[in-house]
C-alpha cells in the first residue's frame, strides 16, 4: 500500500491549499496515476470516484424510476407511465454523466468557445427531433389521447397503441402500423372518437311516399328502443328529414356508449329494415321516370305492367305506379319520341 505523507498534509494545513494539493497529488495512493505511461492522467482516486458515481447513478435512477412507477401506477396510462420512468432514468443518467466528467478529466470549458457554433449547428440538425421530444412532453401533460383510444389524425384512423418520446403509434382498423411523429400529433387536429362517454350515429332511411311515415317512425322507434346500447337518454329521435326524389327521407339519430356505438350501429340497421319489411313498408330503389304526353305513358305502362296505370298527367302517377322494390321496374326508363 502506498504511504500517505502526513507531514505533507500538516505542511499544507499551514501553507495553504495549494501546497496540500501538490503534496497529496505527489505522494498519496489516491493521487497515484497508474496509467500515466499510457497518457491517461487519471488517478486511483479518479477511478474510484468514477466507479462510485456510475454505480450511484444507476442505483438512484433505478430507485427513482421505481418510486415514479409506484406513485403513478393505476393513476395514469401504462404508456405514459413507462415514458415517465424513462424520463426519470435518463435525467439521472445525464446528471451522472456531468458528475463523472470531472474525474474523467473531461473539460467542458473548452467547449464553451465552440459551443455556440456547435449548439447552433446541432440545434438546426436536431430541430425536428427536439420538436418531437417537446411535443411528446406536452402531449403527455395535455393528454388529448390515451392508449387504446380510437382516433383520427392527419387522415389516419385507428387505435392508439403507444405514446412514445418521439412518436405515437397507431394501429389502423385494417391492422396496419402507423407511426405519427409527436410534432405532427401536437400541431394537427386530432379527432378522438371515445374521449366522451357517449356519441351519436345517424341513419338515413327512405320509404315510399305511399307508405305511412308515422307508422314507419313508430316501428323504427320501437326497434331502436329494444336495443340495449341505444341510450334511453338522450332519447333517440326519428323524423321526416326531407322529401326526396324516391320517397320520404327519415332521419334516425341514436346515442350509444362511445365504446359500443359501432356494435349498435351495425346491429340496428338490419333490424330496422327487417321490422319495416315485416310491416309492409318498402325502401324504394332510386328511380327516374320520364314521360312525354298522355299516350306515350299509356303505352309505356302497358309495356311495363301489361296494362294502363293511372292517368299519366296526374302527379299521382309517380306515387302509385312508380317502381319500388316489389314492382321490380327498370331503374331508368325513358321513352323517346
Amino acid at each position: 500500500m502506498a504511504e500517505i505523507n502526513v507531514s505533507g498534509i500538516m505542511d499544507s494545513l499551514f501553507n495553504g491549499a495549494e501546497s496540500l494539493s501538490t503534496n497529496v497529488e505527489n505522494t498519496s495512493f489516491l493521487a497515484t496515476k497508474p496509467f500515466e505511461s499510457f497518457g491517461i492522467a487519471m488517478t486511483y482516486g479518479d477511478i474510484i470516484a468514477v466507479v462510485v458515481i456510475i454505480a450511484a447513478t444507476f442505483i438512484i435512477a433505478k430507485l427513482l424510476s421505481n418510486i415514479v412507477r409506484r406513485m403513478f401506477s393505476g393513476k395514469i396510462d401504462k404508456g405514459n407511465l413507462a415514458f415517465m420512468e424513462k424520463l426519470t432514468r435518463w435525467t439521472i443518467y445525464f446528471f451522472g454523466f456531468l458528475a463523472v466528467s470531472t474525474p474523467l478529466g473531461i473539460d467542458f470549458s473548452g467547449l464553451m468557445v465552440a459551443g455556440g457554433i456547435i449548439a447552433v449547428a446541432i440545434g438546426f440538425a436536431s430541430q425536428s427531433t427536439l420538436s418531437n421530444f417537446i411535443s411528446g412532453l406536452l402531449l403527455m401533460f395535455e393528454r388529448p389521447v390515451s392508449l387504446g383510444d380510437n382516433i383520427a389524425v392527419k387522415g389516419t384512423e385507428g387505435y392508439v397503441e403507444d405514446i412514445g418520446l418521439m412518436s405515437t403509434t397507431l394501429r389502423t382498423y385494417k391492422g396496419v402500423y402507423v407511426r405519427v411523429p409527436n410534432e405532427a400529433m401536437f400541431t394537427s387536429d386530432i379527432t378522438n372518437y371515445v374521449a366522451h362517454i357517449a356519441r351519436r350515429f345517424d341513419y338515413n332511411i327512405t320509404i315510399r311516399y305511399k307508405d305511412d311515415a308515422e307508422k314507419a317512425m313508430k316501428i323504427i322507434k320501437d326497434t331502436v328502443d329494444k336495443h340495449p346500447y341505444a341510450l334511453k337518454s338522450p332519447a333517440p329521435s326519428v323524423f321526416v328529414d326531407n322529401l326526396g326524389p324516391n320517397g320520404s327521407n327519415l332521419l334516425v339519430r341514436i346515442w350509444a356508449p362511445s365504446g359500443y356505438w359501432w356494435d349498435a350501429k351495425t346491429e340496428l340497421l338490419g333490424k330496422i329494415v327487417q321490422a319495416l319489411r315485416a310491416a309492409g313498408i318498402v325502401i324504394p330503389f332510386d328511380q327516374n321516370v320520364v314521360w312525354f304526353g298522355h299516350d306515350q305513358n299509356k303505352s309505356l305502362d302497358r309495356a311495363m305492367y301489361g296494362r294502363p296505370m293511372q292517368p299519366s298527367s296526374s302527379p299521382e302517377y309517380l306515387q302509385t305506379a312508380g317502381p319500388g322494390r316489389e314492382q321490380s321496374a327498370p331503374e331508368n326508363v325513358a321513352q323517346v319520341k
Partner: protein, 310 residues
C-alpha cells in the same frame, strides 16, 4: 307456515299521505329461510313451472319464485324459459345455460366436492360490464322542506352462477330475465353511462318476480328549506348490497338531497327483512370505466348526483 303481519313505519312526507307514526300493516309474502344456506340438490324432474315450491302466502301464490342458494354441482334448472345444467363427461363438467337466444357454455375441470352457487348480483354485467352505475327512473315525487320519506322501487335482477371449490369461489356466468337498457346521466362531456330501469313508486314492498326484479328501499331526506322534485336515483356499484330470501331480492339506499339539483346517494348494507341472506358480490375495486366522467362526484359508496334529480 302461518302468516304473520309485518309492520313498516313511514315518516311523514308528501308522497305517502300518512300522518307521522302511522303504521301500515303489510302481509308477509314469503317464508323465511335460514341464513345458513343448506346445500340443495337438483329436483329429480325439473318442471317448467318452478324450481322451488311456491311461497306460502296466498297473495303470492301466483308468483313463481326462483331458488337462490348453494347447490350440488349437478344441479339443474328449467324455469321460466331458463335452462341450466351441468353434465359430467370424461372427467370434465360441462356447464350449459340457455335463456332465450343467449347461450353460455363452459367446460370445468374440478374434482368432486365442487358446489354451484346461484345468487342475484349487481345488475350491471349483462350484456357487458359497461358501467358501474344503476339508474332507476320513477314518477316524479315532491319532497317537503326538511322532509324524509321512504319509498320502495324495483330494480332489475341479474343472476350470477358461481363455482365453489376448495374454499375459492369464482363466477362462471351471469344472465338476466330482463331486457337490459343503458342511459346517460349528465352530458357526454361530464356524466356517466348508467344501467337504466323504470320503476313504479310503492309505499310498501311490492310483490315482484324474484328472478326479474328486486325491491329497493330508498330513504329520501330533503335537507333543504324548499320543496324538491325527484324522479330518479343513481346508485354506485360499490354501494350495492343485495340480500335475498325465498321470494324477495332486496337492496337499500339513502338519498340525501343537498339542493334542488343535487343529492348524495349511498348504498346501505341492510336487508329488507330479517334473516335474509347476503349475495356474493361481483364488485371489485378497479379503475373507473371509460364511461364515467364525473371526477369528484364519487367518494367511496357515495355518488353525488349533481347533474339534476329529475
Amino acid at each position: 307456515m302461518p302468516n304473520t303481519k309485518l309492520h313498516y313505519s313511514f315518516p311523514s312526507n308528501v308522497f305517502i299521505n300518512q300522518p307521522e307514526g302511522t303504521t301500515i300493516p303489510l302481509r308477509r309474502i314469503t317464508r323465511r329461510k335460514s341464513t345458513e344456506q343448506p346445500v340443495q340438490t337438483s329436483p329429480s324432474a325439473p318442471s317448467s313451472a318452478s324450481a322451488t315450491p311456491p311461497v306460502d302466502d296466498e297473495s303470492s301464490d301466483e308468483i313463481p319464485a326462483f331458488a337462490y342458494g348453494r347447490f350440488t354441482f349437478d344441479y339443474a334448472v328449467n324455469f321460466a324459459g331458463l335452462s341450466l345444467a351441468v353434465e359430467q363427461s370424461r372427467g370434465m363438467y360441462h356447464y350449459h345455460r340457455a335463456i332465450g337466444k343467449a347461450v353460455r357454455e363452459a367446460t370445468i375441470s374440478s374434482s368432486a366436492g365442487a358446489r354451484m352457487i346461484i345468487h342475484p348480483v349487481e345488475p350491471l354485467y349483462v350484456p357487458d360490464p359497461v358501467t358501474d352505475f344503476l339508474e332507476i327512473k320513477f314518477s316524479e315525487i315532491m319532497i317537503e322542506p326538511n322532509g324524509k320519506t321512504v319509498i320502495f322501487l324495483t330494480f332489475p335482477i341479474e343472476i350470477g352462477v358461481f363455482i365453489e371449490s376448495k374454499g375459492e369461489t369464482d363466477v362462471i356466468d351471469v344472465f338476466t330475465f330482463k331486457q337490459p337498457k343503458y342511459s346517460m346521466y349528465g352530458s357526454s362531456h361530464r356524466g356517466v353511462i348508467t344501467k337504466w330501469h323504470k320503476s313504479q313508486v310503492h309505499a310498501y314492498p311490492p310483490q315482484v318476480k324474484n328472478y326479474e326484479e328486486g325491491v329497493l328501499r330508498l330513504t329520501i331526506q330533503n335537507t333543504t328549506d324548499e320543496w324538491v322534485y325527484v324522479s330518479r336515483v343513481i346508485i354506485y356499484e360499490k354501494g350495492m348490497f343485495i340480500h335475498y330470501d325465498d321470494s324477495v331480492v332486496s337492496m337499500a339506499a339513502e338519498m340525501t338531497i343537498l339542493n334542488r339539483e343535487s343529492a348524495d346517494v349511498a348504498g346501505v348494507d341492510r336487508p329488507l327483512r330479517p334473516e335474509m341472506s347476503r349475495s356474493i358480490r361481483l364488485y371489485k375495486p378497479r379503475k373507473m370505466s371509460a364511461f364515467s366522467n364525473v371526477s369528484g362526484s364519487l367518494v367511496d359508496t357515495v355518488f353525488t348526483m349533481d347533474l339534476g334529480l329529475i
